[in-house]
Every structure is written in structure tokens, then in C-alpha cells.
């Protein structure tokens, strides 16, 4: 059996004796006899490290890993600079916990402060928290923090990832908030319908930029409509696109949220990921989660500490802005290293290449016989329509390419990132052409 208990049985006996106990059982005298266990059924004996390593390597190899991935839909295959893995493996940063004790946690605190600063730079917002669980929970927390006594309705664009909408519905059911979906029109949020739906009971309106179909929304115009109704504008932004596209702040959003996974976090079958949340200064004290602030110590030295804790569960209990305690701190480290490694021009270049390669793929797939579902400007994802979507995806898979995500009615949601080389995009289009021939 494997063990991480260092004490020898002689040491354990000595400690039991010195603490005044006859044996281990006497430590558990308060556990009612009728429910005390004799052994643990259904759990096999322990394995050695070597066996565990080999057996789990065998299990990992049962997953199919693709070299070329043309699927996004919430999880994106970007190049991760080697320095990200190196730094995110630093043992102290991996094994520390929430930096409650500032004096011995300045490193973790400064790292989170730097992450917050970069999220502010990316989004144009005034304050960022130290992360929530993922993009969907960031979206849910983002709209829930806008609820007011007389504003209990949340409008969610129908052009948002259905998985995010599902999470928002689950969260909203708890608080009893009302959710309405703004219909889609030709791949974009229908702003006329938004104008009708947004009213004095609307707390927040959530749009995505680019949206689930990859299309760039007329978000600025949406912002005017939302604010005219007195509601808060929450914008879900893909972070790589912000190397190129207008910031949520410039588009008039009050709160920016999103999935930070594209910033140096591997696909990992969906987690751990990183929910980022940032807002205008006026909403700072409503943000959920940890926030690190800069201050000084008693000798005037620069110091960092968890701040604005009066929002949080360990102080406010049932009146807290959220119940969140553990977050995704180590993923903020990955994101911070990623953003510093690529830098401002590098982030723009990644965004330009994603856009360029997606448009190249769209052109090639159209030549191969698929139709673009929408004639709207898009970023790095787009939707096609056509026959044989199942066969297309299967043929791609057989050739080592993970094709787009199958949507309803033969539609496929495609994605290209900077990692997709032209030759592979050509090969994918050839395979599609072959299927449609």
C-alpha cells in the first residue's frame, strides 16, 4: 500500500501513549458504535507509485488527442508558451493556499495583483477579482450581482453558448431571478427585441462578444438600449479577441466576464478553467470573490493584502455577495504569465492569426461545398450549413483532425486558432470536399 504518513509504528505508539490513548480506536470513542466501520468495502488495496503511474498512463492513452483541432465552442486550442508550464509548476505556488497571511504570502498576493492589472488592461475596466470557477460561472455571478429589490429580471442573448445559459438558469433558480432569452436574428442578438424586453424590472443584460456563432455583435448599440432601460450591461468577452477588438469598457459594458482558458490553460477535458470578472469602479463593492489591493506595511514598504473582505462569506455569511471561497488562483498565474509572455503586440498577433486562419478555413470550406450560415463579420469561429455533417466530422476524425462542433440541422460550428497551419486547413477542406462529392 502507498502511504504519505511518515510516522513509523513505533513513533505512532509513542505519540498515542504520550497523548494518553491506548490505541487508535480510543481516539474515536465519540463515534457511535452502530455506525463505526470495520473496513472499507469496495476499495481495493493500495498500489505502488509505479503501478499507479503506469495504470493511469494507460487510461490517459484511451483518450484520442488531435494534432489539428477545428473545434472551439468554449474551449480553445492555443499555443501555450513553455515558460507558462515552467512557472505554473513552481512548487510553492502550487502548494500554497489563499494568501490569508500577507507577510508570508507576498508572492502569491503580488501575482494575483498583477493578474488583476492585466485583466483591467485587457478589458478597460477599473477592477478585477482574483477569479471565479470558469466563464459560465463568471457570467452567472456577473448578472446575479446586478439584481436589485425592484429589478429581478435578467435578459440573456440567445446567441450565447447554451452551456453558459444553462449555468445562469441554475444559478437564477436559486435566487428566484427571472431569465428571459433575447431571440437571435441572423446570427446576432436581435436588438429590436432587446429594446422591447428591457424595462424597469431588468437588472442586467448579458451579451457575448464574439458570440457563440463567432459573430461580432453590435455591442455598442446594445449598450445604449440597455442603459436607457436603467439596466446593467454585462459583456462576455473571449480574451484573445481583446488583443484586437474593442474593449468591453469602450463598448459601454458595466461588467466584463469571460473564460480565461485561452490564456495559457490547456483543454484538460474542460477544467480547471478560469472565470475572469472585471467591472467599473462603481460596482467594486458588489464583485464576488477575492480582491488583492496594494497598501504599505508599518515601515512604509509596498505591501499587498486581500482587501474589501466585507463583501465575502467568511465575514458577511448569508449577506455576502457570493459564497465563493476557493477560486482558480493557479490558473490566474498561467494567464498572467501567458499575457506577459506574449505581450501587447504578441496578443494582437495571436488574435490576427486566429481571425485570418478562420477566414481562410471558411473560404476553403465554402469552396468545398459548405455554405456559411450567416453573412456577418466574425472573429475565429463561424457556422456552416449543408449535407452530411456527420460524415464530414467522421472523415475528419479518421484523418486525425477534430472537426467543428455539430449543431442542430446539419450546422457545424468551426474554429481556427494560430496553431492551425495552412496545409492542415487545406487538407481539412479536401476531406470535406471528398465527402460532399
Amino acid at each position: 500500500m502507498g502511504t504519505f504518513v511518515p510516522g513509523t509504528s513505533a513513533e505512532q505508539d509513542q505519540m498515542l501513549r504520550e497523548a494518553g490513548y491506548k490505541n487508535f480506536d480510543s481516539l474515536f470513542a465519540d463515534v457511535p458504535e452502530e455506525v463505526r466501520m470495520k473496513d472499507l468495502p469496495e476499495i481495493p488495496s493500495g498500489k505502488s507509485e509505479m503501478e499507479t503511474y503506469e495504470d493511469l498512463r494507460g487510461i490517459a492513452s484511451r483518450n484520442k488527442v488531435y494534432r489539428t483541432i477545428l473545434r472551439g465552442a468554449g474551449a480553445y486550442d492555443h499555443y501555450i508558451p513553455s515558460i507558462v508550464d515552467r512557472i505554473a509548476s513552481k512548487e510553492t505556488l502550487v502548494t500554497a493556499y489563499t494568501p490569508y497571511q500577507a507577510e508570508m504570502s507576498q508572492g502569491v498576493l503580488q501575482q494575483i495583483f498583477e493578474y488583476q492589472s492585466m485583466i483591467c488592461a485587457l478589458t478597460g475596466m477599473d477592477v478585477s477579482n482574483a477569479s471565479v470557477y470558469d466563464g459560465a460561472t463568471a457570467a452567472a455571478e456577473g448578472v446575479m450581482m446586478c439584481l436589485e429589490r425592484k429589478r429581478n429580471k435578467i435578459l440573456v442573448s440567445g446567441c450565447i453558448d447554451p452551456r453558459i445559459i444553462s449555468v445562469i438558469r441554475t444559478y437564477a433558480h436559486g435566487r428566484g431571478a427571472e431569465i428571459e432569452i433575447i431571440p437571435e436574428r441572423e446570427g446576432r442578438t436581435d436588438l429590436e427585441q432587446l429594446g422591447t424586453l428591457a424595462d424597469s424590472e431588468t437588472a442586467a443584460v448579458l451579451l457575448a462578444q464574439p458570440n457563440y456563432f463567432g459573430i461580432i455583435e453590435e455591442a455598442e448599440e446594445a449598450g445604449y438600449i440597455i442603459h436607457a432601460a436603467g439596466a446593467k450591461f454585462v459583456l462576455y468577452c473571449e480574451p484573445i479577441s481583446l488583443g484586437l477588438l474593442k474593449t468591453p469598457a469602450a463598448l459601454g459594458a458595466d461588467i466584463a466576464v469571460g473564460e480565461g482558458q485561452p490564456l495559457g490553460i490547456p483543454l484538460s477535458f474542460g477544467g480547471p478553467f478560469l472565470g475572469y470578472m472585471a467591472s467599473k469602479a462603481a460596482l467594486m463593492r458588489k464583485l464576488p470573490g477575492r480582491i488583492v489591493g496594494e497598501t504599505t506595511d508599518s515601515s512604509g514598504r509596498r505591501a499587498f493584502a486581500l482587501t474589501l473582505q466585507a463583501r465575502e462569506q467568511h465575514i458577511r455569511r448569508e449577506k455576502a455577495s457570493s459564497n465563493i471561497c476557493s477560486n482558480e488562483a493557479l490558473c490566474t498565474l498561467r494567464a498572467a504569465v501567458y499575457m506577459s509572455a506574449v505581450g501587447p503586440q504578441g496578443l494582437r498577433e495571436v488574435a490576427v492569426q486566429c481571425s485570418s486562419k478562420a477566414h481562410y478555413l471558411a473560404k476553403k470550406l465554402a469552396e468545398a461545398g459548405l455554405n456559411l450560415a450567416y453573412e456577418k463579420p466574425f472573429f475565429c469561429e463561424f457556422v456552416t450549413e449543408g449535407e452530411k455533417s456527420g460524415e464530414i466530422l467522421e472523415a475528419l476524425s479518421n484523418n486525425g483532425i477534430l472537426g467543428g462542433l455539430s449543431l442542430e440541422n446539419g450546422r457545424i460550428l468551426w474554429c481556427a486558432t494560430e496553431k492551425c497551419i495552412a496545409a492542415e486547413l487545406d487538407r481539412a477542406a479536401e476531406i470535406v470536399k471528398e465527402v460532399l462529392r
Partner: protein, 474 residues
């Protein structure tokens, strides 16, 4: 120390991706930002040294003792990190067809089965990303269950006054009203107060056992019976499960639904605050309400199936998968006997420290504790002016991370010490000696202690100024 933007020099960069090999396509200019984001411009060597310096200014389990009560800061096995980094795990897209991710589904299924065996629950979901997220999940399941049987008037959740802050916060998020019940003088649930609190409006009870003062509530079967007889459900906060694995199961104590913290009990690292993982387990009658998908075997293959009356989704995809991988590896290595040995030694270590300190410090409850114990420093404060905070800060100068301070709220001047099972006797003895020296210091040189720590890169930060005039970015 400089911030990364202060090390930035315009024009510095890394060479990461090649030239674009297709025609450049940039969206219409009206969609574009005016300027590139102000991110640092640094070389790779600067990055490497900057974060090495940040690492040196931090404290992890690898650096030294970390007896942070309620957080189970046990040693994180090295091999778990290697296993979670296998390309088959990190490279899998969450929206691949089930047939292509049999490895991931096998990890999920196997972990769900083993967690069920350890806890006595019938079904699990790995979707919740942390303990508090799991609490919220379990409460939404209770709510959905009550709605399904038409008992929507049940809107109260009972929470002991000693509970973790997340308990009432989660109950509020799930739309319940919170009823706080006082603890008895023994630190356990006051049965009379509980009987008074229950009625036809009670949805359930949230409890951790061992409780937050580190005691196993020996009335646990009576407590869950009182709730069940009133028509409520029992939620088990699994934060303290490290004390009782292989000893007693929440499912056998009368709990209906619970969460676990894989980053505490099952040795996944805490990452400076996360990622964690908060799987939720439940009894059969609640399984159809579980969120996300459940892994089942069908025609010789594993498939993801959405439970019939699922409450929906708690986050995208299937949870913090890589954390689940680490937990499974840990459970495989320990096996049935190792799991029990871990809990036995966690409890032994806590009692050893408690007994070796109780002649000078006052244990909040002077009786056998489970995996952690709480000291009450009121006497020390009254006699020396040195508070629990001062004693905690004093420990930093010994290279020991302070215990949890001022929690639970029912103990004044509280220090909550959780040594975990992975510490050597020498480490425990050093910590005991450190705490005894600190006690002496409080009487001999209180001013020194009030200014502790003396060995760190900063002294005590001005937290009042930080909150009054928040500086939250560079």
C-alpha cells in the same frame, strides 16, 4: 519588489509563434480597439526571475508546516502532478464524442465509485469546482427535490452558529432563509435548540461532523433523526472528512447529500487559492437531480448521461477534471487501508499537539479532538495584551504558517490548528516548542510579539488603508 510592469521595456518580447501562413484578415476597423492592451513587455529571463522571486516570497506545504485549520494542508504527492500532466488528459477537448474520451470517462467513473464507497453515498457528480460550489449544488438539489414533492413552503435551512461562512452564504444563494442554531457549552449542536428550530417550514440542515471546533458530535444520529422526522433533509459539509475516512461514513450518519473537497481530503494541491474540486454525492432518491452528466456503462463503453430531473449545470463541461485525476491517483495509492491510516494519523497528530500544549494554552474544549483543535487565547490576551493574531504572527518567524485565526466565531481569540497526517513527529515537536516559546514571549516581551513577524519581506500590512482607498491594479 518591482511589479512586472515596472520591469517592462518597450520593444522587448519573446519569439513565440511564427509568421502567419495565410492571407491576413482583420475585422472592420469600427470593431477594433484603439490601442493594444498595456501588457508588460519583457524577456523570458525577466519572466523566469520575476516569478522565482514571487515564489521565494510565498509559503507552500513544500516550504514548511501549514497547520491552517479547516483547510487540510497535507502534503501533495509529486506523482499526482506528473499523472495530471499526461497529454491524454491535458489534450482532450471537453466536447469530443464520448467514444474518443473513454480514458477521461473512466477516471470520472472510477473516482465517483470510490467516493461513494468512502462516504456511503449512492451517486456523485464531479461538476462543482470547489467546496462552496458543491454546497450550492447540494442545496439546489434539496430545493428541486422539495419542489418535486410539492413541499415548496419548506424554505428554511438550519445552520449551527459554528458553521463555515460558506454554509449560510450558499443557502442564501439557493434562496433559503437561514436559521442559526446556537451550539451547546460542549461545542456541539444543542439538541433542545434544534428541536425548537425544526418545523413544517424546514428544508434541511447543513452540518459538518467533526464540527468546526474539531469535535465529533456524538449525538449525530439523533440530530439527523430530528431533521428527518420534521421532513427536512441533511446536508453534510465534507470539509472535515479527513478525520473520519474508513471510520464512519456520512451516508451512515443519516446524511442525504454532501460535498467533498478533493483539494483538502484527497491531497490535490491548493494552488494559492484554487483550483479545487467539490464533488457532490447523494442518496439514491436524490440522484436524478444531480447536475451535469453522470458516467454510465452502456454496451461495453462509458457514456455521459444527464440525470432525469437534473437541476442543470453548475459550470461548463464536467468539472475540474485534472484535480479529479490527482484525487484518483491518491486514492489508488492509499487503498482502503491507507485511507483509514490517513484519518487515524490526522486525528493522532491533532491530539498529540493538543495534549502537549494544553498545560499553558486553553483548549476551547478540553476533550479528545478529531483532526483539528481550537485554542482559546482570551486568558493570554487578558494577561499580556498579546492576541491570537499576535501569536499567529509570531509563528511566521519560525517558518510555520499560522493556524486559522478568529474562527469559529463561537470561540473568542481562536486559533484553529490542523496538523494533518503527513507531518513528522519532529515537525509537530518543533511547532509545539514554537508555540510554547511564543507563550513565554507574550509574558516576557509582549511588544516584540505585537510587532511580529520580524523575519519576513514586509511587516504587518495596513489593511484599513487598503480597504478605504482601494488600489487594485497597477
Amino acid at each position: 519588489m518591482k511589479l512586472l510592469n515596472e520591469e517592462s521595456v518597450k520593444g522587448r518580447s519573446l519569439s513565440l509563434i511564427g509568421k502567419c501562413d495565410v492571407e491576413e484578415y482583420i475585422p472592420y476597423s469600427r470593431f477594433l480597439r484603439d490601442e493594444v492592451p498595456e501588457l508588460p513587455q519583457v524577456s523570458e529571463v525577466t519572466l523566469s526571475r520575476h516569478f522565482s522571486a514571487l515564489e521565494r516570497r510565498s509559503h507552500g506545504v513544500n516550504n514548511g508546516f501549514y497547520p491552517l485549520g479547516s483547510c487540510t494542508m497535507k502534503y501533495n504527492p509529486a506523482v499526482d502532478e506528473e499523472i495530471a500532466a499526461f497529454e491524454g488528459f491535458t489534450g482532450a477537448h471537453p466536447l469530443q464524442d464520448d467514444s474518443e474520451v473513454q480514458g477521461s470517462l473512466q477516471v470520472i467513473k472510477d473516482l465517483e465509485d470510490r467516493l461513494s464507497a468512502i462516504t456511503g453515498m449512492d451517486a456523485f457528480t464531479l461538476q462543482p469546482a470547489a467546496g462552496a460550489h458543491g454546497e450550492f449544488t447540494g442545496l439546489l438539489m434539496i430545493k428541486a427535490y422539495l419542489e418535486s414533492i410539492g413541499e415548496t413552503e419548506r424554505n428554511k435551512i438550519i445552520v449551527p452558529d459554528s458553521a463555515h461562512g460558506t454554509n449560510p452564504a450558499s443557502a442564501a444563494m439557493a434562496g433559503f432563509n437561514i436559521v442559526n442554531v446556537p451550539s451547546g457549552p460542549d461545542g456541539c449542536v444543542d439538541l433542545e435548540a434544534l428541536r425548537q428550530a425544526v418545523g413544517s417550514d424546514v428544508a434541511g440542515l447543513m452540518l459538518t461532523n467533526p464540527n468546526t471546533v474539531g469535535l465529533f458530535d456524538k449525538n449525530i444520529l439523533e440530530i439527523t433523526r430530528i431533521i428527518h422526522e420534521a421532513g427536512g433533509l441533511c446536508y453534510y459539509d465534507g470539509a472535515n472528512l479527513n478525520a473520519v475516512m474508513g471510520i464512519v461514513r456520512p451516508g451512515d450518519m443519516g446524511f442525504d447529500v454532501m460535498h467533498l473537497n478533493l483539494h483538502k481530503t484527497f491531497a490535490a494541491p491548493h494552488g494559492g487559492g484554487g483550483p479545487g474540486s467539490g464533488p457532490v454525492g447523494c442518496k439514491e432518491f436524490l440522484a436524478e437531480f444531480l447536475p451535469g452528466s453522470h458516467v454510465e456503462e452502456k454496451d461495453g463503453a462509458l457514456v455521459r448521461v444527464r440525470p432525469a430531473k437534473s437541476i442543470g449545470d453548475m459550470r461548463s463541461f464536467d468539472g475540474n477534471f485534472l484535480v479529479a485525476v490527482k484525487a484518483l491517483s491518491y486514492i489508488w495509492m492509499l487503498g482502503a487501508e491507507g485511507v483509514k491510516e490517513a484519518s487515524q494519523n490526522a486525528v493522532l497528530n491533532a491530539n498529540y499537539m493538543r495534549v502537549k500544549l494544553s498545560d499553558i494554552y486553553t483548549p476551547a474544549y478540553d476533550t479528545t479532538c478529531m483532526h483539528e483543535f481550537v485554542l482559546n487565547l482570551q486568558k493570554l490576551k487578558a494577561e499580556t495584551g498579546c492576541s491570537a493574531l499576535d501569536a499567529a504572527k509570531g509563528l511566521i518567524d519560525y517558518g510555520i504558517h499560522p493556524p486559522t485565526m478568529y474562527f469559529p466565531l463561537i470561540v473568542h481569540e481562536a486559533l484553529m490548528i490542523e496538523p494533518t497526517e503527513t507531518e513528522t513527529k519532529e515537525t509537530l515537536d518543533e511547532a509545539i516548542n514554537a508555540l510554547r516559546e511564543i507563550y513565554d514571549k507574550a509574558y516576557n516581551d509582549p511588544e516584540y510579539l505585537k510587532e511580529a513577524p520580524h523575519s519576513t519581506v514586509i511587516g504587518r500590512p495596513d489593511e484599513v488603508a487598503a480597504a478605504r482607498h482601494p488600489i487594485v491594479h497597477w
